[in-house]
Amino acid sequence: MRDRLRNLDWIDLFLWIVRAAIVAVILVGTVKTILNNPYTLRNWEDFIIFGIAQGSMYALIAIGYTLVYGVLQMINFAHGEFFMSGIFASTSAVAIPLARAGYLASHPIPSLLLIALCSILISISISLLTERIAYRPLRHAPRLMPLITAIGASFFWQYYFRGLFGSQVIPFPDIPQLEGTVPFLHTQVLKSHVLVIFVTLVVLVGLNFFITSTRPGKAIRAVAENKDVAALMGINVNRTISLTFATGAAMAGVAGMLYALVFHQVHFFMGFIPGIKAFTAAVLGGIGSIPGAAVGGLFLGLFESLGPSLFLQSLGIPAFNQLKDVIAFTMLVLVLIFRPQGIVGERLKEKKA
C-alpha cells in the first residue's frame, strides 16, 4: 500500500510540473505580448470575431459528439466524416453546377438554402447508414469494438468520397453578395462571419427547443437517462438512437455549409482536424451536455484564434501560426488528463461511464 501511494505521488508530481510549465508559458507569453503590444486594437477585434465564427462551427460539430455520447456513451469517431460528406458532396454536385448555370449569382438565397439542405440531408443519410451498419450490431460488445468500427467507418467514408468526387481541393463558388464587410460598433466585420454567427445562433435556439420541448427531443433525453426504462415507457430505443445520430449529423451538415462559406474550399480530408477539435470542444464543455458543447466550441475557437498571437509570438517562436493546431491538440490532451468532466459541464455520473 505504501508502495502504491509513493507511486501515485511521483506521477502526481510529474503532472503538477506539466501543469505549472504550461501555465508559465501562457503567463510569460501573455505578459510579454501585453508589454510589447505588437497589434492594434483593430487586430485583436479581428482575432476575436474570427474566433467566434470558427468557434460557432466547432460548437455545431461538437453537438453531434455530445448527443451521441450522451445516449450511447461512445465516441463517434466518424462524426468528422458526417461533417465532410455533406458539404463535400453538395459542393461538387449542387453548388458548382448552380454556379455554372449562373443561378447562384442571380438568386443567392434560394441556392444557398438548397445547398445547405442537400448538405444536411447527405450528412444525415451517411450518419444513419453508419449507425445501422457499424454501430448498432455492436451495441452490447466491449467498448473497444465500436471504437474500432468507428475508425474503420471514418476511413471508409473519406476514401469513398475521394473516389466519387476526386482528391483535389474543390473551391466553393464565390457569392458576390456575401463578400465585403459590414460596420459593427466601431469596426468592420466580414459579412460571411456575420452570417455564420447568426445561423449558429438560430440553429442552437432551434435545437434547444427541439430537445427540451418536443416529443422526439424528450425521447432522446429519456434514452440518454436510461435506455431500459425508456423502452418500458414505450419509447422505440433504436429509432431514438437513429434520431440522435440524425440530429447530430444535421448540425454537422449546417457546420459544413458555414465552413464552405468562410474558407471557400472543400476537400475529402477536411473532416479530420475539425472533427478532433470539435471533440475537444465537447469535452471542454463536459461531454454529454449540449449547452456545454456550445460554450466549449466558442471557447476553443477563441483560444485558438487568439493563442498564437497572444502567447506564442512573443516567446520568439518562429512561424508561430504553424502551431495553431498544436494549441488545440494540447488543449485536448490537457483537458482529458486534468479535467475529463469538462470546465463548465456537469460531472458524468458514475453509472453512465
Binding site: 508502495d3 469494438m145 474503420g152 469513398y160 473516389g163 502551431l323 490532451v333 461511464a353
Partner: protein, 552 residues
C-alpha cells in the same frame, strides 16, 4: 400466398438494394476502371469484371441459400430476380452515363469505365445486363451444390484468382529461377494462361474436396517423431527457409518482405499495448518517428547529424529513447478510460507530427526537408546496401521482438495485462497496480516501435515528417485486428495481407485505405477475434455463444 412468403420479397428487395449500391459504388469510385487492364486469365476475364459481377453473384448466393428447405428451386428464382434487378440498375447507369454529362460531378465515371462495363463493344449495356443475370444465376446455383464441393470450388477459384493477380511477379521469379520458356508457357502478358489456370483450379479444388472427404492428406507425412523432436525439426526447417529466403525471392520481393518485417515489428509492439493490455493507442506512429529521428540524428553524416556514431551503437539508444518517450507520454494519460485514451494518444501523435514539420524544430530535425545522409548499417567493411542484406538486420530485429513478446506474454506480467484488459476493477482488487502495469505495456510497445523506426531510417537513408502520419498508426492497428488481437502469428498474417498485398497489387494501393475501412468494420462485425485468433480472446468473445448453446 405461401409462395410469396417463401420468396421473402422484403428481404430480397434489401439484398437487391445492397448489391446495386455496391456495384454502382465500385464503378463510380473508380475501382472498376483501375482494374480494367488487369487480366486474371489472359484474354478471358479481368479483375474489373470480378469487381462488378462479384457482388451480384454473392448476394444471389445469399438469397438462394435462404430459400426454405424442400423448395430449393425457389432459390434459383430469387437469384434470377436479383440478377434482373441489378441488371436493370446497371443498364440504366450505363445509359445515363452515355447520354448525360455526369463526369463533371463524378470524376471517375469516364468513357473508359463505360467501355469496361459494356465489355468493350457498342450496345454492350445489354451484354452487361445478361452478364449480371448470368452471374446471379451462377451464384444461385452455387447454393444448390453440396457443402463440401462448394468449399472446394470456392477455394480453387480464390487460389486461381490470387495466382492470376500476382502473376507478374511470379513470371519474373519463374524466369530467374527456372527458364523463360516455362514462365511464358504459364503466364503471358501479366496473367495466367487458360490451360495452367484450369489445371490449377481443378487441382486445388480436387485436393480440397478429397481432403474434406478424408480420403487423402490427413495422415502424417514423413517418419514418426515425438512431439518435442517434431518441434525441433519444424523450427530448424523454418529457420533454414528464412535464411535463404532472399535468394528465392529476388530484390523486389525481398524489399516487400522487409516492409512486411518492419510493420510486423511495430505490430508486435502494438499487440502488447492493444491486444494484451487493452489500451487503444492511436498515436503509435509517434514512437516510430522518435526511433527514426533518433537514429537519423545520431548517425547522419549530413549537417543535422550530432554524433556520427555507427548504426549498431545507435540502435539500442534509439530503442531506449523511444521507450523513455513511451514512459513519459504514458504517465499522464494512462489513468483515463479506454476511449479517452484513444483520442489523447491520437492528439499526441498529431502534436509530434506538427512539431516535426514546424519551423520551431527545424534547426534540429530539418522541418519538411527532413534529415538526409543516414548511413546504412555496416558489418566489418561491408555496408548493407541491398535489400537482401537489410533483410537479415530486420530478421534479427523481428526474431528478438518475437522472442521477447512470447516470453512476456506467457510471464506473470502478460497475465496481469490480460487480467487488466478483461476488467480493470477486478484486476485492481486482485492486487495489480494498474498504472505500473499499463506503463510497462506502453513502454515496451514504444520500444518495439522505436526499433522499427530506427531500422526504417537506416534502410531509407533519409527521413521526412510526412512518412510519420496517422495512417501508419491505423495501418498497424488494422493489421493486428485482422490477424487477431493478442495473437503473434496473427500479427504476421495481418502484416502479410495488409502490407504485402497492397505492394504487390500496385493498383490496389489507391484504394488501400478504403479497403482497410471496410476490413475493420467487417472484421469487427463478423470475426472480431481475427483470422488467427489467440485462444483467450476467442474464448472470451464466444463465451456468450457457448452459454446460449448450453441453455439450448
Amino acid at each position: 400466398m405461401s409462395f410469396f412468403k417463401d420468396l421473402d420479397l422484403r428481404k430480397l428487395g434489401m439484398q437487391l438494394l445492397v448489391a446495386s449500391i455496391i456495384t454502382l459504388s465500385v464503378s463510380a469510385i473508380g475501382m472498376v476502371e483501375l482494374f480494367g487492364g488487369r487480366f486474371v486469365i489472359t484474354g478471358l476475364f479481368t479483375m474489373a469484371q470480378i469487381l462488378f459481377l462479384g457482388p451480384t453473384a454473392f448476394f444471389a448466393y445469399r438469397a438462394a441459400q435462404e430459400a426454405p428447405a424442400g423448395k430449393k428451386w425457389l432459390g434459383l428464382l430469387k437469384a434470377l430476380l436479383l440478377g434482373v434487378g441489378v441488371g436493370i440498375v446497371m443498364f440504366t447507369f450505363v445509359w445515363l452515363a452515355q447520354n448525360f454529362d455526369v463526369r463533371s460531378v463524378f470524376i471517375n465515371i469516364s468513357p473508359r469505365l463505360i467501355n469496361i462495363l459494356s465489355f468493350e463493344h457498342a450496345g454492350g449495356a445489354t451484354t452487361l445486363f445478361l452478364a449480371l443475370v448470368g452471374s446471379a444465376l451462377a451464384g444461385g446455383a452455387l447454393a444448390l451444390v453440396p457443402d463440401k464441393l462448394r468449399k472446394a470450388l470456392l477455394l480453387g477459384a480464390s487460389i486461381t484468382l490470387l495466382v492470376g493477380l500476382l502473376s507478374e511477379i511470379l513470371a519474373e521469379r519463374l524466369r530467374s529461377l527456372f527458364s523463360s520458356q516455362l514462365s511464358s508457357a504459364i503466364i503471358a502478358s501479366k496473367a495466367l494462361q487458360v490451360i495452367p489456370a484450369t489445371v490449377l483450379f481443378v487441382l486445388v479444388s480436387a485436393i480440397s474436396y478429397l481432403r474434406q472427404s478424408g480420403r487423402i492428406g490427413t495422415g502424417k507425412i514423413g517418419p514418426d517423431l515425438k512431439p518435442s523432436q517434431a518441434k525441433i525439426v519444424r523450427t530448424a526447417l523454418i529457420s533454414l527457409l528464412l535464411l535463404v529466403l532472399p535468394m528465392l525471392l529476388g530484390s523486389y520481393l525481398t524489399e516487400v518482405t522487409n516492409n512486411i518485417g518492419l510493420f510486423f515489428l511495430m505490430g508486435l509492439g502494438l499487440n502488447i499495448v492493444v491486444g494484451l493490455a487493452g489500451l487503444l493507442d492511436l498515436g503509435y506512429v509517434a514512437f516510430f518517428a522518435i526511433g527514426a529521428y533518433t537514429m537519423a540524428a545520431l548517425t547522419s553524416t549530413g549537417h543535422l547529424g550530432v554524433a556520427g556514431i555507427s548504426f549498431w551503437v545507435a540502435l539500442p539508444i534509439c530503442v531506449a529513447v523511444a521507450a523513455l518517450a513511451g514512459f513519459i507520454l504514458g504517465m499522464p494519460v494512462l489513468r483515463m478510460r479506454g476511449d479517452y485514451l484513444a483520442i489523447v494518444t491520437l492528439g499526441f501523435g498529431e502534436i509530434i507530427r506538427i512539431l516535426a514539420l514546424s519551423d520551431l524544430m527545424k534547426p534540429y530535425i530539418g522541418g519538411a526537408q527532413g534529415i538526409l545522409n543516414i548511413p546504412k548499417p555496416t558489418v566489418g567493411d561491408l555496408a548493407l546496401i541491398r535489400p537482401e542484406q537489410m533483410y537479415y538486420v530486420i530478421l534479427i530485429g523481428v526474431a528478438i521482438a518475437m522472442f521477447m513478446s512470447t516470453r512476456v506474454r506467457d510471464s506473470q506480467i502478460g497475465r496481469r495485462w490480460m487480467a487488466m484488459r478483461e476488467d480493470e476493477d477486478v484486476a485492481e482488487a486482485m492486487g495489480i497496480n494498474l498504472v505500473n502495469t499499463k506503463l510497462l505495456a506502453f513502454t515496451i510497445g514504444a520500444g518495439f516501435s522505436g526499433l522499427a523506426g530506427a531500422i526504417f531510417a537506416s534502410k531509407l537513408g533519409s527521413i521526412f515528417p510526412h512518412s510519420f502520419n496517422l495512417l501508419i498508426s491505423i495501418n498497424v492497428l488494422s493489421l493486428i485486428i485482422v490477424g487477431g488481437l493478442g495473437s503473434i502469428p496473427g500479427t504476421l498474417v495481418g502484416a502479410i495481407i495488409l502490407v504485402g498485398l497492397p505492394e504487390l497489387l500496385r493498383e490496389f494501393a489507391e484504394f488501400r485505405w478504403l479497403a482497410y475501412g471496410v476490413l475493420l468494420v467487417t472484421m469487427m462485425l463478423s470475426r472480431p477475434e481475427g483470422f488467427i485468433p489467440s485462444e483467450t480472446i476467442k474464448r472470451e468473445l464466444h463465451a456468450g455463444d457457448e452459454a446460449a448453446e448450453q441453455a439450448g
